[in-house]
């Protein structure tokens, strides 16, 4: 199974998210994945992710959110990462805004890989040193270095 660092293209790392509203942020993160060809039907993917966001919180606390969707509009599992200095309201149960946002897009048929990617990413982001590293990262390469260093 691919590592988190292998699923995150450098072009899909946005260190200075411009949007402050969660659906605009999701749009910012989806665009590079569409440009890379990983998401084949942008509107279908966005509607799947919006539907999930409207049903449940994907903010896992600690300033982290992991919006995700599994649809036919995705050709292979892929991630995007965005960082927001001001924070974005992802309705986390701890009531705090999310500053580190990982978007996961997966094909409909890859349920096991999708679940495992979510689990491994959630575990990774609970480590203080990972969140500190991602908050300090000055470039996409720094982000990938932090992830590579801490994923098992």
């Amino acid at each position: 199974m691919a590592k988190i660092s292998e699923l995150l293209p450098r072009s899909a790392i946005v260190l200075n998210l411009q949007s402050r509203e969660k659906f605009d942020v999701i749009g910012e993160l989806v665009r590079p994945l569409v440009a890379a060809g990983a998401i084949t039907e942008e509107s279908e993917f966005v509607s799947a992710i919006v539907r999930r966001e409207n049903m449940e919180s994907t903010g896992i606390g600690l300033g982290v959110a992991i919006p995700h969707a599994r649809t036919k509009a995705v050709s292979s599992i892929v991630l995007a990462f965005g960082r927001s200095d001001s924070g974005v309201d992802f309705s986390s149960l701890d009531g705090k805004p999310s500053h580190l946002i990982f978007l996961i897009a997966a094909p409909e048929e890859q349920k096991t890989e999708y679940i495992m990617t979510l689990a491994r990413l959630s575990k990774l982001l609970r480590k203080d040193e990972v969140r500190i590293g991602l908050n300090k990262a000055g470039s996409p390469d720094d982000v990938l270095r932090v992830i590579v260093q801490h994923e098992s």
Binding site: M55, E56, L93, K111, Y114, M116, A119, S122, K123, R126
Partner: protein
């Protein structure tokens, strides 16, 4: 009733308990809080053991979340480390869950959960 707390563990009976909970939640338009608690082990072994246990715990939570999404059931995932019984009791109170559901083969001491919880408890077999 509006909220249910589902206690999640990687036991053979968990899938049945989760299915029962989601069916109930769907039928009654309830919100589900799915809780998984990892127990810290002996300090020397903590890193590797907790890592594996944590990944399994998250994986169990996301399996249920994915199922809930397909069934249009509202769900929130809770991951904690510590004493499972105490975490379950305190979080079901703080999230105002009106019912606790656990698998009958969970590793909690069933009688202790029933005795200490102020909420009704259902064990699903």
């Amino acid at each position: 009733m509006e909220r249910i707390m589902l206690y999640v563990e990687d036991t053979p009976g968990m899938a049945t308990a989760a299915t029962w909970t989601l069916r109930l939640a769907k039928g009654m338009s309830l919100r589900v809080f799915a809780l998984s608690v990892v127990t810290p082990d002996a300090p020397r072994r903590r890193d590797t053991q907790t890592s594996d246990a944590e990944e399994r715990a998250w994986s169990g939570l996301y399996e249920i979340e994915d199922d809930a999404f397909q069934k249009n059931v509202r769900i929130s995932l809770l991951f904690e480390t510590g004493d499972p019984l105490q975490k379950l009791i305190s979080l079901s109170t703080s999230y105002d869950a009106e019912l606790i559901v656990a698998s009958a083969d969970c590793r909690l001491t069933c009688s202790e959960l029933v005795r200490q919880s102020s909420r009704p408890v259902v064990f699903v077999k």
